[in-house]
């Protein structure tokens, strides 16, 4: 197994720096989802289940072709179907493959209090280490894409791993391999970005989608899953893709200033205790006046 691709650069809830981070040269991987050529066949959903060994779950029918309302702890990959009425009255069926976005600045990792439960590899994959997970669910709050899901059976949280067991030996993720229309691509981040931009330009200039563009949100410093959208100005149309995703401010506050304030108060208390001891000494017993000795 190639260790280089699984070198850790970020660790959740970890005191101090990550050992040896950034010493090796490493390429960044990326999934490209071209929503304009997706036909909603769900081959990626099945391939994901097959590879990860999860059984087929109960499906929910809600008058669309969608398998279930949202991803589940054992269903990491879901095509979201959305009917959209355009300005001229014509209908469009928008289909988007929903899965972990593998953010460059992951909200789940920032929110996680367990040392090493969430790590980010040098190739950009954000991975849950279930053996360290304490099942608190803070990552669910931290994620702007509603991806980590709690398993009541395992009492832990699970999500897409970007098939790191495949990627680490040089294979593509299972969903990418299955896609029959080629709307899914896998490669290095710069290559996928270039391919996405070329396709968006084609959609703008040739196919008449004036607002076509690439979704690589800067609010989370970019993602390792990028989309080509017909209408990049309204990503909400594609099953609630956030327009400007960012780590919730509550998480930022809790993990930033409040954490330091807490540490300061704790250490301040200890220092104060030591100072008080040295300045005033221990509290001595009051000497009993000689007259009262008989009473004792």
């Amino acid at each position: 197994m190639s260790q280089a691709s699984t070198e850790i650069i970020r660790i959740s809830g970890h005191a101090g720096s990550v050992p040896g981070a950034g010493l090796n040269r490493e390429f960044q991987v990326c999934k490209l989802v071209d929503t304009t050529t997706c036909i909603g066949c769900k081959a990626c959903e099945v391939a994901c289940l097959e590879w990860n060994g999860y059984t087929f779950s109960e499906t929910t029918f809600d008058n669309t072709y969608q398998t279930m309302p949202e991803t589940a702890w054992n269903y990491w990959n879901l095509i979201k179907f959305n009917e959209h009425e355009r300005a001229d009255g014509s209908m469009m069926l928008l289909m988007r493959k929903d899965q972990c976005m593998h953010c460059e600045d992951p909200g789940c990792l920032a929110a996680c209090p367990a040392d090493g439960a969430i790590v980010q590899y040098a190739n950009g994959i954000v991975d849950f280490q279930e053996q360290h997970c304490i099942g608190c669910g803070y990552c669910i709050t931290g994620c702007p894409f509603n991806i980590p899901k709690f398993s009541p059976e395992a009492r832990k949280v699970f999500k897409c791993t970007l098939c790191n067991d495949r990627v680490s030996v040089g294979l593509e993720p299972a969903c990418i391999k299955a896609c029959p229309t080629g709307c899914l691509h896998f490669g290095t981040k710069p290559e996928m970005k270039e391919l996405a931009e070329t396709r968006a330009e084609q959609l703008r200039n040739v196919s008449g989608f004036a607002d076509a563009g690439v979704y690589d949100p800067p609010g989370v410093s970019g993602t390792h899953v990028i989309y080509v959208l017909h209408d990049a100005k309204n990503p909400e149309l594609y099953g609630g893709l956030p327009k400007d995703p960012h780590i919730p401010y509550s998480v930022r506050l809790w993990k930033g200033p409040l954490k330091w304030l807490g540490n300061f108060a704790m250490i301040g208390g200890l220092v104060g205790l030591a100072w008080h001891y040295m300045r005033y000494g221990p509290k001595n017993e009051e000497p009993i006046p000689p007259d009262d000795r008989r009473r004792v």
């Binding site: 197994m1 101090g16 040896g20 010493l23 959903e45 391939a47 590879w51 790191n164 391999k177 299955a178």
Partner: protein
């Protein structure tokens, strides 16, 4: 400034403890990953049995084909070297593993007699014998030697044959030879179903 042996040992000891506590470690950190489940599994090429496209699939079985191992399918995925699908598969093809590992999979021939409501299990020998008898009976009943204009045609209009997508060229050659020798005209393939 003079450093005594005692002072040196003190500083080195404190420094060593500090380095361990604060984690000065130049060795990169690695995660414990799930092993690739097909790393040393036997890889067998096959063809998807569903539609007429005939996508190539790779079937992974446990063991390395050693004599003392009973192979068991653990994973199926697209064959990247197959010219038809180049590694891709549709949702039905992607679920092939569950087609193989399925308690409801048919592993022996069954027949539903005329008028019967249930399927009954029969042996391969019985099945082949019955098929041969029905073929003979139908062919005798529907064989046309001459058409209305008096041309010799020697055809059997009561039977047709349909081939599947996993049939090889060699198999198809034999099928055409056998069926044409019976006088069959209707040879069909799955691509038009």
């Amino acid at each position: 400034m003079q450093t005594s042996r005692r002072d040196f040992l003190k500083v080195a000891g404190v420094g060593g403890v500090a380095a361990t506590v604060f984690g000065f470690d130049l060795k990169p950190a690695y995660a414990q990953l799930k092993e690739l489940k097909i790393a040393r599994a036997a890889e067998t090429r096959s063809t998807c049995p569903y539609c007429a496209v005939g996508c190539g699939v790779l079937i992974y079985t446990i063991g390395d084909r050693a004599k003392n191992v009973t192979p068991q399918v653990i994973h199926v995925e697209g064959d990247p070297d197959h010219p038809t699908n180049r590694g891709t598969l549709c949702p039905k093809g992607s679920s092939l593993e569950q087609d193989i590992l399925n308690p409801r999979r048919l592993t022996k021939p069954q027949v539903r007699r005329p008028g019967a409501t249930d399927w009954e299990d029969i042996s391969w020998d019985t099945a082949l014998d019955e098929i041969a008898q029905w073929t003979k009976k139908t062919r005798d009943a529907t064989f046309v030697e001459k058409d209305a204009a008096g041309h010799t045609v020697n055809r059997c209009e009561g039977i047709s044959f349909i081939g599947g997508c996993t049939d090889t060229n060699e198999f198809n050659y034999l099928v055409v030879k056998t069926m044409r020798s019976l006088g069959l005209v209707y040879l069909e393939n799955q691509a038009r179903v």
